[in-house]
Amino acid sequence: MLDDFLVRALIGGLLVAVLAAPLGCVVVWRRLAYFGDTLSHAALLGIAVGTLLSISLPLAILLVCVAVALILFALRKHGDLASDAILGLLAHGSLALGLVAIALAGQRIDLNGLLFGDIFAISRSDLFIMGGGAIIILLTLGSIWNDLLAATVSPEIAAAEDARPQRAEMIFLLLLALTVAVAIKVVGVLLITAMLIIPAITARRFAGGPETMAVLAIVAGGGAICLGLYGSFVFDTPAGPSIVVGACALFLLARIIPYGGRRPNS
């Protein structure tokens, strides 16, 4: 069954949807959308560095993402720049540096595939790596979920009552970097943030609690993958952007259909 490239694409896409949805909910709650962009751009630089140095690409992506996150924290703590300015610097700086490094690496890197994803090229071994990554990410996320939610709702309460907010936030950023590494093949560097955010805000309207929202976001993300792959196959359009168009379509649909005749919960 895994021999069919369409089946492999579907499984890979659904894995990314399952990962990106709960993380994306946290990104939305904590207003970290721009940070997601920064991480995915840093991932591009990671691929370039990994290729140039001939080390494992997921490892290189993770290292560069972590380095960028650490630089962000250091600048935010000791500098006089606002967070969005620092993120603008890091996001575009690492994107530009990545593009330059890829040019230096010559013909060995398929730039188009990196930017927009190459879901139909997912191999069997890619799937195993993605599946392993997904299990690690979901288990870790589950173990810090309550602390992370407490830190999101009130950093003060979390700190005073020993819910270790800083630990939860650092682990969350690592998980986000890992997810970016896993998702690049599916939607590409430029559209990863969309897979984090759009399913989450699609689910928002129907959710009465944070956990419900995360589960509904997985459904919305999975729907977007199916729609996008189908559209891409039928209309011969690029898969990554088609998936994001599918996510947007689901978001619009969720806004239009009547639901309980009332405004969103809470």
């Binding site: 709650w29 309550n146 309460i157 700190a159 009465g208 609690g209 969103p264």
Partner: protein, 298 residues
């Protein structure tokens, strides 16, 4: 539970008062080129209510952060009882509109809580009917009651409240202070209150610390309000009669608008029992005998 950490090299310096839940000696915090607070001496024992007052920027929050161990002191010592259970009521709670959060889920924010315990905790602060309400739909007073219910549901040894009566009207403030007093009585917890309202300090406060980067003065509410340092710090703002608020506690208002009197009767209004100060309910049993009332408000 009251042992101070044995492994602490500072034990000899802080361990002399065995009853203290948390204590700081000559503690100070230096950050961004200045001393935020310096030379703070503060200890809280179980069952004690301590209020920090001071103008904006006087270091009230910094002092609490030091005491709870959220900041490391640049000088001096801070120690807490081992595994101290803290219940924290923040000054405000801004929940992102994209985060769906009902009261029931918020109650379980930092600790698991059975449904019956949750309802009991909310009932105690009079908001059990809001269990399924979204947090963002709560009014200021309801929010305060939910925040306090959550903190109390942890059965804390130390209850810390940052301006719990802020944004609540006078009657609401009185009701909240009554809740805190009742919780202290029931749980025997230490209570640390932060207040920037210089005129109204909870009547049951055992000790007031006046902060302005350091401890200006300290003592019972009555004593502090008469101290020159307090009058200098809060000078023209604090007419002597209003510096400390005490109130008679003989009835409370139920969520449905009726009134529960301390003798157990329930009426539609509080008029019938007006000023029946012969009845003190148990929450006020520890009040000092002198009923001299400064700025009495019912």
């Amino acid at each position: 539970m009251l042992d101070l950490p044995q492994h602490s090299p500072r034990r000899s310096a802080v361990g002399r008062e065995p009853r203290a839940l948390a204590r700081m000696r000559r503690a100070g915090l230096y950050a961004n080129g200045r001393w935020l607070v310096r030379g703070i001496d503060l200890a809280i024992a179980p069952g004690e209510i301590v209020t920090l007052v001071g103008p904006n920027g006087s270091g009230k929050s910094t002092t609490v952060k030091l005491l709870l161990g959220l900041e490391r002191p640049s000088e001096g010592q801070v120690a807490r009882a081992r595994d101290l259970r803290v219940g924290y009521v923040p000054q405000r709670l801004a929940i992102d509109s994209n985060l769906p959060l009902k009261v029931a889920r918020f109650m379980r924010l930092t600790r698991a809580l059975s449904h019956s315990d949750m309802v009991a905790a909310l009932d105690e602060t009079g908001v059990a009917h809001l269990t399924e309400a979204p947090m963002r739909a709560l009014s200021g007073g309801e929010m305060q009651r939910v925040l306090i219910a959550r903190a109390l549901s942890l059965k804390p040894q130390l209850l810390v409240l940052d301006e719990p009566a802020q944004g609540v009207d006078m009657a609401g403030a009185i009701a909240i202070y009554d809740l805190i007093a009742a919780a202290r009585q029931r749980l025997g917890c230490g209570v640390l209150l932060i207040s920037h309202d210089l005129h109204l300090v909870m009547a049951q406060t055992d000790r007031v610390l006046c902060l302005n980067g350091h401890v200006c003065c300290e003592g019972t509410p009555e004593a502090v309000s008469e101290m020159p340092a307090y009058r200098t710090l809060f000078g023209g703002e604090a007419p002597s009669g209003l510096a400390v608020y005490r109130h008679q506690h003989d009835h409370r208002h139920l969520p449905d608008g009726r009134v529960l009197h301390s003798d157990g009767t329930v009426t539609q209004t509080c008029d019938t029992h007006e000023c029946s100060h012969h009845h003190h309910d148990h929450d006020c049993a520890h009040h000092h005998a002198d009923d001299q009332q400064a700025g009495k408000v019912r």
